[in-house]
């Protein structure tokens, strides 16, 4: 490995593309890979959007469409959850933002191993294809076990997709983890070993801190999902009993005996809780940068923001069982995990205070990215506060598996990171394409999305009905009052509207690519290095002959006594007077 002796990457040969295929499909350029990740994630996200319409239709207007059978409903719930968490949020925030921003913000030519990076995307693409195999005719549909895939029900015949659906799901997850590992190793190694001159860790933009820490979490948490996917596959295919106790279903005795369903839950949530922060930490980082740039003010408490990210990352490994209070654990476990869960609220609250204090008396520009960033903070606070209720054992027990939980996690780790993704796309689209997104469409998109998601999820807190029910009012046992029905219907209709608004956004992405206003190099007057590339959009290799040299942090906005209200990172400090 010759890289160690070669200073500052200037002499490392790049794999220049020679044809359309190597330029846009098998590309080793991190920027192309980022866009590939982004497009794939958005495409699969649209599938998840349609699935959410299917289940909302059933909840709001039960019996309206004959074809929404219980099987279809549960399959839609499961696939919606899994796609959103893994194949959209994780893939977009790390695969797309991570790939695009890490080398550019650090002043690197590319990721340290571009070839591995390329493979990473294609393996991810394969995992998406495998996931969708369940929808092929003859496969009897994807699994309907819920995104948590709890055994024993996930692999018993009463659950839809018990034959092939669960297998394609587990295989797809294992393949996704391979893809993530290849990408993740690249991000971490690039952050640690391939920064440019002057770019110390404490000068890195917070986006990089968030993406880097989330990648560490992913590399340590995904193994749990990987192993449990292998074990469940063995339970299903070979008839081992890792997770399966002695059980009979539909009158038939199974061969299983002696397994531990609780073990799966522990493994799943040992992955699942860090996963929440794998999604949240990049969002934290990106939103910090958005707020600082568009508020024309340095981020409040940069060091504390960094340490909060690190602390949240560390703590996220010892809170997992707060998802399992009703699973039959020892009560003392609940005590421990409730304590750690509430402790993790402290660094999170620090971050919220710092965002607020950054906005305080700032010279705020209400651009579309800024609107999304502020909306993130508001949504995250509401979703986070309900987390305090759910973190306490005694309060969580009655709230378990109700729409209170649905509202909580959709606001805190569904809508909030999605808002950041939107904000990030509006913010970096000018760098990626060289053109601005249409502002008017952007604002319409923002207000429909922001108000709409509030209208969807806020009332759910008060709905107080169990979740994952196919139908609530069955004959004599009707459990919903008419007002609850109206609430459900209004939520469903709002979901249609918000969903359609997303097509407006996609229209904007496509049209602005050709017809958007020319952006120039630095339309937002930002400081971080990605805005300082010699060309916009940046060419392969990013920086031309010499890499930039960093002289300051990324947050020198509105420095007193300076001509302009921003000083990019590669501007030298003045000689001391």
């Amino acid at each position: 490995m010759a890289q160690a002796e070669i200073p500052y990457q200037e002499a490392i040969p790049l794999h220049d593309p020679h044809s359309w295929i190597t330029k846009y499909w098998f590309s080793q350029d991190h920027k192309v890979i980022a866009v590939q990740y982004g497009i794939t994630a958005v495409a699969v996200g649209l599938v998840a959007l349609v699935l959410s319409w299917i289940m909302r239709t059933q909840i709001g207007f039960p019996g309206m469409f004959e074809w929404i059978t219980p099987d279809i409903y549960y399959q839609s719930v499961t696939m919606h959850g899994m796609i959103m968490v893994i194949y959209l949020l994780t893939a977009f925030l790390l695969g797309s933002f991570g790939n695009y921003l890490v080398p550019l913000m650090l002043g690197a030519r590319d990721m340290v191993f571009p070839f591995v990076n390329m493979i990473s995307y294609h393996v991810y693409f394969a995992s998406v294809i495998i996931l969708m195999l369940g929808y092929l005719p003859g496969m009897e549909g994807p699994t309907g076990a819920g995104w948590t895939l709890y055994p024993p029900q996930a692999i018993l015949s009463g659950t839809p997709g018990a034959d092939w659906g669960i297998l394609t799901m587990l295989a797809s997850l294992a393949v996704f983890i391979v893809a993530f590992t290849m990408g993740g190793l690249n991000y971490i190694t690039t952050i640690l070993q391939a920064r440019t001159r002057g770019m110390t860790m404490m000068r890195m933009p917070l986006s990089i801190w968030g993406i880097g820490m989330a990648t560490v979490l992913g590399l340590l948490a995904f193994p749990a999902l990987f192993v449990s996917a292998i074990m469940m596959t063995l339970d299903n295919v070979l008839g081992t009993s890792f997770f399966m106790p002695a059980i009979s279903s539909a009158g038939a005795e199974h061969e299983y005996e002696g397994g531990s369903p609780l073990l799966f839950q522990h493994l799943f949530w040992f992955f699942g809780h860090p996963e929440v922060y794998i999604v949240a930490l990049p969002a934290f980082g990106v939103v910090s940068d958005l707020i600082s740039v568009h508020a024309r003010k340095n981020i409040f408490g940069y060091r504390l923001m960094v340490w909060a990210i690190v602390a949240i990352g560390g703590l996220s490994f010892i809170v997992w069982a707060h998802h399992m209070y009703v699973a039959g654990m020892h009560p003392y476990f609940g005590f421990f995990f409730a304590t750690t869960t509430l402790i993790i609220a402290v660094p999170t609250a620090i971050k919220v205070y710092n965002w607020t204090l950054t906005l305080w008396r700032a010279n705020i520009r209400f651009t579309v990215p800024m609107l999304f960033a502020i909306a993130f903070v508001l949504t995250f606070v509401v979703g986070g506060l309900t987390g305090l209720f759910l973190g306490n054992v005694i309060v969580d027990v009655p709230l378990s598996d109700t729409y209170f939980v649905v509202a909580h996690f959709h606001m805190v780790m569904g809508v909030a990171p999605i808002l950041v993704i939107f904000g990030g796309i509006y913010h970096w689209y000018p760098k990626i394409t060289g053109r601005m997104l249409n502002d008017t469409i952007g604002r319409i998109h923002f207000w429909i999305t922001f108000i709409g998601t509030y209208a969807i999820y806020f009332p759910m807190h008060f709905l107080a009905i169990p979740r994952r029910y196919y139908e609530y009012n069955v004959g004599e046992s009707a459990i919903l009052t008419p007002s609850m029905d109206i609430l459900n219907q209004s939520i469903t209709i709002t979901a249609y509207i918000v969903g359609i608004a997303q097509f407006l956004f996609i229209y904007n992405l496509i049209v602005s690519y050709r017809h958007g206003r020319e952006a120039g190099d630095n339309p937002w007057e930002a400081n971080s290095l990605e805005w300082r590339t010699p060309q916009t959009p940046p060419v392969h290799g990013n920086w031309g002959e010499r890499l930039p040299t960093v002289h300051r942090w990324a947050y020198d906005f509105s420095v007193p006594g300076e001509e302009r209200d921003f000083i990019p990172q590669d501007v030298p400090r003045k000689a001391q007077a």
Binding site: M1, A2, Q3, A4, E5, Y8, V112, F113, T181, G184, L185, N186, I188, T189, L192, Q193, A194, R195, T196, R197, G198, M199, T200, M201, M202, R203, L219, L220, F222, P223, A224, F226, V227, S228, I230, M231, L234, L238, G239, T240, S241, F242, E255, E257, G258, G259, S260, L263, H266, L267, F270, V550
Partner: protein
């Protein structure tokens, strides 16, 4: 900057490295850093395999078969417990020794000896996989299956095949990896480097050995 870093020692120098620009780990090639991080992730995979094994062993209602009896070999009329496993362990630890020699000769730019010892390591790895195949064959012919066995808890066979299988895959991958890298070293692909690639390969190999020690301790000795 570099002089200041050289002067400080201990914790202060660690802090200095982490707060410096360009590289956090000085003089560490990208590939080596990446291998370390990968191994950290892989540690979690094996850690979770072993934790899961211990959990199912603790949860299952039936008695756990006695590994000393199950993994015994009868040679010349005497039954020796864990004989094959002892030989396998010895073989793998020997391979770690040859690997260390290969790394040493690599840094001395003695290409020929480095390649010979890498190939020796691959050979020991291959022998290990062969003995593992024999072990699997023997147990399968005695009636051990992933879903059950003649002596007790069904999870014994499940865990055995899963964990040793996954480790065996790692060893096999290591043999292939070693063969490819030694071929490339021989062909002169790394002649303008310090042959760090040998050490990177060695990191992986030592890791696989170390994992075996844990599997040995937790699965065979317990």
């Amino acid at each position: 900057m570099a002089e200041a870093a050289a002067q400080s020692t201990g914790l202060a120098s660690i802090a200095k490295d982490w707060s410096s620009d360009v590289t956090t780990f000085k003089g560490v090639p990208w590939g080596k850093a990446m291998m370390w991080i990968f191994l950290l992730s892989d540690t979690f995979i094996f850690g979770i395999f072993l934790t899961s094994y211990m959990t199912v062993r603790a949860t299952t209602a039936e008695a756990w078969p006695n590994p000393s009896e199950v993994f015994s070999l009868t040679l010349f009329g005497t039954t020796v417990p864990l004989l094959l496993i002892a030989i396998m362990t010895f073989d793998l630890i020997t391979s770690s020794g040859t690997m260390a020699l290969a790394v040493n000769y690599g840094y001395r730019r003695d290409k020929k000896k480095a390649v010979i010892f890498m190939l020796a390591t691959a050979f020991f790895g291959f022998v290990f996989v062969g003995m593992q195949a024999f072990e699997w064959y023997k147990l399968i012919s005695e009636g051990v299956r992933p879903w059950g066995n003649p002596w007790g808890a069904a999870q014994f066979g499940s865990c055995f095949f899963m964990i040793t299988g996954f480790h065996g895959l790692h060893v096999s991958a290591g043999v292939v990896y070693l063969s490819i890298i030694s071929y490339r070293v021989w062909r002169g692909k790394y002649d303008d480097t310090n042959f760090e690639i040998v050490e990177i390969t060695g990191l992986y190999w030592h890791f696989v050995d170390l994992v075996w020690v844990f599997i040995f301790a937790f699965f065979y000795l317990w």
